[in-house]
């Protein structure tokens, strides 16, 4: 883009207005000043409405997308920009893929501070570099005030699964072990603690992180014994295990005492009447692995910083009802169900 478009945006006090989305020079300026530097890579610089890259050699490809509408946009431990990279990288990694390329579609509410937009784009670019992926193409739309909530980002990603690796939610078999890579509920509690209408405070940070490095170590350690992985995001561990139970046609039995949960997360859930197993994570995974490889896999995970608290929490069982059952720390048994409705503070 030639310097004709390069004009100083007021990143301190300026705001996005409708002209920044109208396809004219103001939009070109916005993209040049905010996104090009933040994401900077040769593929993006092509400046076409699409990015072109060599077809990967071999393997299978995977593609995923997620919309990011997190509120607040900046939260303890991350922001919507880094989250939009981690979430999509993780969905690719969960298939055992090496994440390669991301696209980023920004929907921005008129009035959004340009400085915040730059901060988000920079964070997104940094997260992509840290995860080893390139943001190769993007889009920017501006909508009237009151027709969005600051900024939404939809990220899509593609990656390549090495030949011979086949992970899928339908591959859990009775006897397989269920592993989580670390403590549950950190992201959701961090987000709730930063919401204006909930007046509690914690030092919990979101666990938002890219899991592709951890996954690489896991694939190396467990090879074909690894059945599947999934990141327990919205709906938390409970939703993920129920999904997997239905996909694989098995039940799960897990042990409450084996599930890592931080003290403050447990306390926040207690105050708000929530179950930490329903609370979202953004840097954790659930893996199902053949029993014989479980211990080795956990050991390998623990030697990666993002798997330091990895633990076997249970196993898959035969169950035509596909229940997720849990032995409580108290010694009883119960179902771990999907959350009904939205996750909200309860009084009773």
């Amino acid at each position: 883009m030639s310097k004709t478009f390069r004009r100083k945006l007021d990143l301190k006090a300026g705001r996005v207005d409708m002209s920044h989305g109208a396809g004219g020079r103001a939009m070109a300026e916005l993209i040049a000043a905010i996104f090009k530097d933040a994401f900077g890579n040769e593929l993006l610089e092509q400046g076409n409405d699409q990015a072109s890259f060599p077809t990967p050699a071999g393997g299978r490809m995977v593609m995923t997308t997620d919309g990011y509408v997190v509120s607040p946009i900046f939260f303890p431990g991350g922001d919507i920009g880094s989250l939009a990279v981690h979430g999509t990288v993780n969905d690719l990694a969960m298939a055992g893929a090496k994440p390669l390329y991301l696209s980023a579609s920004y929907i921005i509410e008129e009035g959004f501070p340009l400085g915040d937009l730059k901060r988000i784009a920079d964070s997104m670019g940094a997260a992509a570099r840290a995860a080893g992926v390139l943001i190769v193409t993007g889009d920017t739309k501006v909508v009237d005030r009151g027709k969005a909530d600051g900024v939404f980002i939809s990220t899509a990603g593609v990656g390549v699964v090495p030949d011979g690796l086949a992970l899928s939610g339908d591959r859990a078999r009775p006897g397989d072990r269920v592993i989580v890579s670390g403590s549950m509920g950190d992201h959701g509690v961090a987000i709730m603690s930063s919401r204006e209408n909930l007046t509690f405070e914690t030092e919990i940070l979101s666990d938002s992180a890219p899991l592709n490095g951890l996954v690489e170590a896991m694939v190396t350690a467990a090879g074909p014994h690894l059945r599947l992985m999934r990141d327990p995001t919205r709906g938390g561990l409970a939703a993920t295990l129920n999904e997997l139970a239905h996909q694989s046609g098995v039940g799960f039995r897990i042990v409450e005492d084996h599930i890592p949960i931080k003290r403050q997360v447990a306390a926040a859930c207690e105050l708000l009447g929530l179950d930490p197993l329903n609370v979202a994570n953004e840097g954790k995974l659930v893996a199902v692995v053949a029993a014989e490889a479980a211990e080795a896999l956990v050991a390998a995970m623990r030697s990666h910083p993002l798997g330091a608290d990895a633990a076997i929490i249970g196993e898959a069982v035969e169950d035509d009802q596909r229940f997720v059952q849990m032995t409580t720390g108290f010694g009883g048994g119960r179902i771990v169900d999907w959350l009904a409705g939205e996750q909200l503070p309860r009084i009773c």
Binding site: S193, F200, E201, T202, R263, A267, L271, G273, R346, I347
Partner: protein, 80 residues
């Protein structure tokens, strides 16, 4: 019903409000319903209000009562 949690009072604030802490989670609540709340007290917190103080001696006594049941061998498998 009546979800409520015992939490430590860490600070008294104006207007009958107080800061409480539960394992690193803090919150500002009303103590308008409980007399003589002091920093260091545990109070039962419900919908942002303290309902009563926790009596530490009685809490200890409850645990002692529970411990009385110890030593009796567990009838494994007898449950249900």
């Amino acid at each position: 019903m009546c979800l409520a949690v015992p939490a430590l009072v860490t600070e008294l604030l104006p207007d009958n409000m107080a800061k409480i802490s539960l394992d690193g989670v803090s919150m500002t609540i009303s103590v308008a319903l409980v007399k003589n709340v002091a920093v260091g007290d545990y109070v039962i917190v419900h919908v942002g209000y303290a309902l009563s103080k926790v009596d530490p001696d009685e809490a200890r006594r409850t645990l002692d009562l529970l411990d009385e049941a110890r030593g009796v061998p567990l009838a494994v498998g007898a449950a249900r």
